[in-house]
Amino acid sequence: MERVKATTGRKRLTDLLDPEFMNRLDSLDVLSRKLLQGKLQGERRSKRRGQSVEFADHRPYVVGDDLRFVDWNIYGRLEQLFLKLFIEEQDLTVHVMADASASMSLGEPSKELFIKKLAAALGYVSLVNNNRVTLSMFADGVVGQLANMRGRNYLHQMADFLLTSQCDGLSQFESSCRQIAGARIGAGVMIVLSDFLFKEGYDAALRRLIGRQYDLYIIQVLSPQELSPDFGGDLKLIDIEDADAAEVTVSAALVKYYKRNLTAYCNELKDFCTRRGAVYALANSADSVESLVLNYLRRIRLLR
């Protein structure tokens, strides 16, 4: 959390999302494939039977039940006491985990800005729909978090948080996931935004998230240079995070192998997610966030 710098001037949400885009986001809501139990009564159906106007079922009366929910019409016909059960509508917890390691600062256009815009859009949609939103930035752990936001009032705070956070440091995805899973804020939609180029792997980390009650969405953001390298010749490639060097002669053949490896890596991640009920999406930082949010995320039913 210490890496999130204090703002000297108020950052504005319009620095990330333009008003027209926000207008279009107003009509969207985060969709969970699961009926998850929330903490507060909200605008969303839950598994829980509770107080709402939507009928769910009947059950025989037992002593101690609230007599207000007895279906007197059935008692009139059958002379037996049945209790009316209603589907309780609860709020939805949306947790956005954004990668803030040094590797995100690279790319043209940068992955950092893309991820921040995407997080802002998802946060905006969640907040305007009165969902509970938690925004976490992670690198070698959770380096910044804005938890339990609800309602439009938090929009500027969210924008300020996103715009003031910096991408720096190593990425330790497993450690970060362990922290978040340990905090156990509650069930809900978990959206992880990262390039997922973790040398230690992503399996163990994602397992920590999948095992919980999260509806997990994985959005892998890569820069155009990572998707299709545009450099060649004899190079010494230096990892921005751990300064690991790889001396390569970037030839057409090597690029071909690189692309093949990248495709395999992405497919592995996708398969990993699919097998475990998570949704995977790949985004190019050169694409527009608007298009991704309005089209693709609706298509994968993260938004509606």
């Binding site: 010494k236 490639l237 230096i238 030839s251 053949a253 990248l262």
Partner: protein
């Protein structure tokens, strides 16, 4: 295909190939680039560089191209040639004419240089024993340069570099062109036992390759198998104007007056007008404009028409000059042969001679000597001479040596007790102590041969000379024989101890000579020659190739010679005090002086070409040797082999382009 320098290529290959492979494994200086993660790159590299380094090499087309390039370069370095000659090995003799006419510049830069160029091409075309060749065909070649004399520049060898160096070392000369000696030398070397086992000896055919302009003096005398003779005619034009004769002499009546006679010849088909200039010690004294008729129309005053009827004009100059000097006659019209554009004559100062006649009474000799317009003729009896030899302690005590008193001493049948340093004309028994011994007395001797071109015998006809009695002489080896009786020398020139003896080993009165006009001429020539009047002049005016002879030096004394193209060349006097310098192969003025400055001044010698045959530079495309016509080759010598290195270099360039293309294709994303 053969390789001229295979060893060089092998050494270069031994160094370059491992170096290339080593360089391939060396690390490059790489450009640093920051990336998000090296994770996928490392995997890609691992995929690309699958296993062992040799797999990399096998799949690397760039390395393959570089290896090919290096191989082609190494092959080019080995100088491969494709031989277009066939048949068994042969022996070749290159006969290169470097006479005066080959200095003509009608062919750029000169005929000799063109001949050398063609000879070099011919040598380069010969078959060498290839390093990687299994054939034994190896041509042996010999190089002979010839003008008046022939010189073996290089004996039979297959070493082309040695042959080319020998060809390059041939210098231009101004001499005549005689092929006979060169042919004899070539035949002698061909038949000589050879120490190289590869050579097949005399049964092997020899090819004579003659590089000349065809102006060869002794073609009618050479004997050669014309099937073996290939003639390469060098030269294009025969246009030339040259001085073919020159003579300068002082007037008989007035020695201060000098008369210069010269003949200028035109070898062009058109008449030519040119200026002829006379200069004395490089000061121009007179210029005359003359028109020389075309070839075949002129007529010289003395020599008549040239060998091919060159047009000639005689030019005379007269001037008053009472000192020694060098006269130069030069025709000022530029032409392709410079050697014959000028002629030089060394003029001695006017001098009248003082002669001492030692005789018991010989009126014939006395009157002959008196007819020689001498300054003074003294007559002594033998006893007076022996008693009063000037300069000797027992003499008259005048203190002056005999040489200072008299220019010439004529001894008539007198055997002096001493012969002080002087010049002697000896009739009868020769003096003692000059290495000439008398073997016996002969009778009834007639002259059978004499040297009419010698200064002593100029215009002298000895046909009717008959001696009733004479001494048979045993002459030393360095004696100059001027005339011969049937059994004994008749006239001889001997140089000893700084003295010169002209020996006539018979009594004039015992011969028919006094009745002959030649006797007076002989006396005049002999006195002039010995008195260094006419003789010195004759000695000083030489033709190309004639040796310069200077007498009167101390044995072993050094002298310095200056000449055209060289200076201060040191020569030593022989035991008889004479210096001989034979390297007069270029026209011009030569100077010889004693190494010690106190020993005297410089004696000048004029060496002239004055050769009608060499001035006629018309190339002869058909020569007749051994009675058979030999036609010149239609074209210049061309290569009989094909150097392949340019193709290999071209291939290297192509591979370099291909490598660049492939590299860019591989690197381009």
């Amino acid at each position: 295909m053969q390789f001229l320098t295979p060893l060089t290529a092998l050494v270069a290959a031994a160094v370059a190939l491992p170096l290339l492979l080593l360089l391939y494994f060396l690390k490059l200086k790489r450009r640093e680039l920051i990336v998000s993660s090296t994770l996928l790159w490392k995997r890609a590299v691992q995929d690309l560089q699958v296993n062992a380094p040799f797999q990399r090499l096998r799949n690397n087309i760039l390395l393959l191209l570089q290896l090919l390039m290096l191989l082609a370069l190494l092959l080019a370095l080995a100088a491969p040639i494709l031989s277009l000659m066939s048949g068994r090995a042969r022996r070749h003799v290159l006969l290169i004419d470097h006479s005066a006419s080959m200095s003509a510049t009608d062919v750029e830069p000169s005929r000799l240089e063109e001949a050398k160029r063609q000879a070099r091409i011919y040598v380069e075309s010969l078959r060498d024993e290839g390093f990687l060749s299994f054939r034994g065909a190896r041509d042996q070649t010999m190089v002979i340069a010839f003008d008046k004399h022939s010189k073996v520049m290089c004996n039979f060898t297959a070493d082309k570099r040695q042959l080319i160096a020998a060809i390059d070392s041939i210098q231009a000369g101004d001499g005549d062109s005689y092929l006979g000696e060169a042919i004899m030398v070539a035949q002698a070397f061909t038949q000589a036992p050879d120490d190289e086992p590869a050579n097949q000896g005399s049964q092997e055919t020899v090819k004579l390759m003659l590089f000349s302009d065809g102006q060869i003096a002794d073609l009618d005398q050479i004997i050669v198998n014309t099937d073996e003779l290939m003639f390469q005619c060098i030269g294009q034009s025969g246009r030339n104007v040259g001085v073919t004769a020159m003579r300068a002499r002082r007037s008989y009546e007035n020695p201060d007056e000098v008369e210069v006679f010269a003949t200028v010849a035109n070898y062009d088909a058109e008449p030519v007008t040119t200026d002829v200039q006379l200069s004395v010690n490089d000061d121009v004294r007179a210029v005359k404009s003359v028109t020389i008729p075309a070839t075949g129309k002129g007529k010289a005053d003395s020599g008549g028409a040239g060998p091919q009827g060159a047009g000639k004009v005689a030019v005379n100059f007269s001037l008053s000059y009472a000192e020694a000097g060098v006269l130069t006659v030069r025709q000022l019209r530029g032409d392709s042969l410079a050697s014959d554009d000028a002629a030089w004559a060394v003029l001695a100062p006017p001098k009248r001679l003082t002669v001492l006649l030692v005789t018991a009474g010989n009126k014939v000799l006395e009157s002959a000597l008196r007819a020689c317009s001498l300054y003074k003729l003294d007559i002594m009896t033998p006893s007076e001479f022996d008693a009063n030899v000037p300069g000797y302690p027992n003499g008259d005590g005048s203190g002056l040596g005999l040489e200072q008193c008299y220019d010439v001493v004529a001894l008539d049948n007198h055997l002096p007790v001493r012969t002080p340093r002087c010049r002697y004309l000896v009739f009868g028994r020769p003096p003692n102590g000059i290495d000439v011994s008398v073997l016996q007395e002969l009778e009834n001797q007639a002259v059978v041969d004499w040297r009419p071109r010698h200064a002593v015998l100029k215009y002298v006809n000895l046909t009717n000379l008959f001696a009733q009695k004479c001494y048979k002489l045993d002459l030393p080896r360095d004696a100059e024989l001027l005339a011969e009786f049937n059994e004994s020398p008749a006239l001889a020139l001997v140089r000893r101890n700084g003295s010169v003896f002209l020996l006539a080993p018979f009594d004039v009165l015992d011969s028919t000579w006094p009745f002959e006009p030649s006797f007076v001429l002989f006396c005049y020539n002999a006195v002039s020659f010995l008195g260094m009047q006419a003789g010195q002049n004759e000695d000083a005016n030489l033709l190309v190739g004639d040796p310069i002879v200077v007498d009167g030096l101390v044995s072993g004394q050094s002298a310095l010679v200056d000449g055209p193209g060289f200076s201060r060349l040191q020569v030593s006097a022989n035991s008889s005090g004479s210096v001989r310098f034979a390297r007069t192969d270029r026209v011009g003025v030569y100077g010889i002086r004693a190494a010690e400055p106190a020993a005297g001044g410089t004696r000048l010698f004029a060496v002239n070409m004055l050769n009608d045959a060499e001035s006629n530079i018309e190339p002869v495309r058909q020569i007749v040797a051994s009675g058979v016509e030999v036609q010149a080759q239609a074209a210049a010598v061309g290569r009989a082999n094909l150097p392949l290195w340019p193709f290999f270099v071209g291939f290297v360039l192509f591979l370099a382009c291909l490598e660049w293309f492939v590299y860019n294709r591989k690197v381009r994303i």
